[in-house]
Amino acid sequence: MELDFSRQLHYVWALLPEIILCVWGMGVLIAGVSGPAHRGEDHAVSEDPAFGTGSGLGWVSLVGLLIAAFFNGWLYTLDEVGRGAVVAVDDFRLFANWIFLGGAALSILISFTYVYRNRLQAGEFFSLILFATAGMMFMAGARDLMLLFLGLEVMSIAVYALTAFNRRDRRGAEAGLKYFLLGAFATGFFLYGIALVYGATGSTNIDTIAAVVSGGRAREGFLTLGIALMTIGFAFKVSAVPFHMWTPDVYEGAPAPVTAFMSVGVKAAAFVAFIRVFLVGFESVSDQWYPVLWWLAAITMVGANLMALSQTNVKRMLAYSSVAHAGYLLVAVAAGNETAAAGMLFYLLVYTVMNVGAFAVVIGVAHQGEERLQIEDYSGFGRKRPELAVFLTIFLLSLAGFPGTGGFMGKIYLLQGAAESNLWYLATILVLTTVASYYYYLRVAWYMWMRETTSEDQHDLVVTPLPMKAALIIAVAVVLYLGIFPSSMMEFARAGVEGLGALGGGLLGVHP
């Protein structure tokens, strides 16, 4: 089936997964508001949180994600006509959608008991996750800077709310405020950038922009400034050093499942948009933004990895780790070739899985709350809960980029991308900072395996309900599968990028 966007109704088909998610989100919201969970009378009931009250909404949300996923798959059968539409129907977007949907699904799976234990309002919580996911998907699919911005806002506002969602938690509120104020601040820059790009090219359509820019018809000054401001905006969203300062605080303060969700989803969405805007839209003036990205990538990798070394709070450590990964991914953006873009997609996928997996264990150790987050709290964990500790070890090794895990393949992919563009210094920085990262990842492992528990009952309250187990097993399976048989997924990612090139037409040397 072909979509001709000259008739607006076709957007309904092109945006079917997003629409489904939004509708489903409203449904969950209504169910939550009207359901028994909301009346606040059954929190004392101790039943299996996996199937308990309120958690039903979680399963419902998962079904929604599943349906959206189904239609995301269905979109592969579609073709679009022309490139003028504000919504792209290309493999790039669809691949990114898989990441968002998967990340959201895993995040929901690991949040069941958390929501229950912390008496969060399930309806609002899950619906906000669904909305945020929809926002990410808008970002990925947007071929229009304004739509991209709106998607970003949908995502951001939902995540702002989610961050401060636990109203009993001071840290959550603080994190929410910091995230919100800085996020809005960055939005201003980003938006100013859009405005100037619009002024420079006369359009917000990325494809048109690409044509104008490559044709040399853009207003130089506006364009340059706009690109710089957009870079700042994106750098904030992907939390590149030195725009990362919100990240540790927010990741630490936010509810752990939300942290997991935003560390994978928000970052992935930002990077996908980043790639589309910069590699499609501004590809032909890459000499203007490339040095900035080069330095951003370098500083991010070095700074984040070094700062992570001295962290003692696991969530905060993972926050810095997430910043460091942003650095690795920025290398791909700086490299700006097909391999790098494909590597970025692949890496985002792996990162989503492994990071959510790691957070799942963290939530488990934290007693499905925010209790035990210091690294000392992991001592002797391997002895008491070997299976969880093995899982966490695998996730950490994957985050560190060790052979046999998806993280390794992802890193190699990124490095290849960098290599193709001859970014040898960046590649070297990447591997050297990886060495530093081994230290803090392995530190968790050594606390788990090489130290004795401080008290006998230290890990007795660690619970992993069924959905979390499912998430863990899925995550481990994917991480290992991608580490050992990465081929098919790599080709899939590659295909996604090629779609971007053919339709957006802006990748290296493939101008329309």
């Binding site: 911005f149 401060a164 509120a173 938006l191 002024g199």
Partner: protein, 97 residues
């Protein structure tokens, strides 16, 4: 006059930025961010004179975004006020280093 309007927007933008940097009251900081968005709107309008009507449409969206942000942002501020009995960001430093 377009250039002048753009420069005005730039000045308003950096004044907003300045406000975010120097005010400690979360609400005022947010207000300054609104000022920034307003500056961007001005830029859109000015640029729409240069390239077309679309810029004015975008101002529409930006205003909506501003409204949405205001809703959530003020809710967060209320929420944090409940914990700290204050909106001074200097007090909010449980999370650091």
């Amino acid at each position: 006059m377009i250039t002048e309007a753009l420069i005005l927007s730039a000045i308003l933008f950096v004044v907003g930025t300045f406000g975010v940097l120097v005010r400690r009251n979360a609400i005022i900081m947010f207000l300054c961010i609104e000022l920034q968005l307003n500056a961007v709107n001005l830029a859109f309008v000015a640029l729409s004179r240069l390239v077309g009507i679309d810029g004015q449409v975008f101002v529409f969206f930006v205003m909506t975004v501003a409204a949405a942000e205001a809703a959530v942002g003020l809710a967060i501020i209320i929420s944090i006020f409940r914990h700290y009995e204050s909106v001074d960001v200097n007090n909010f430093n449980l999370l650091k280093w």
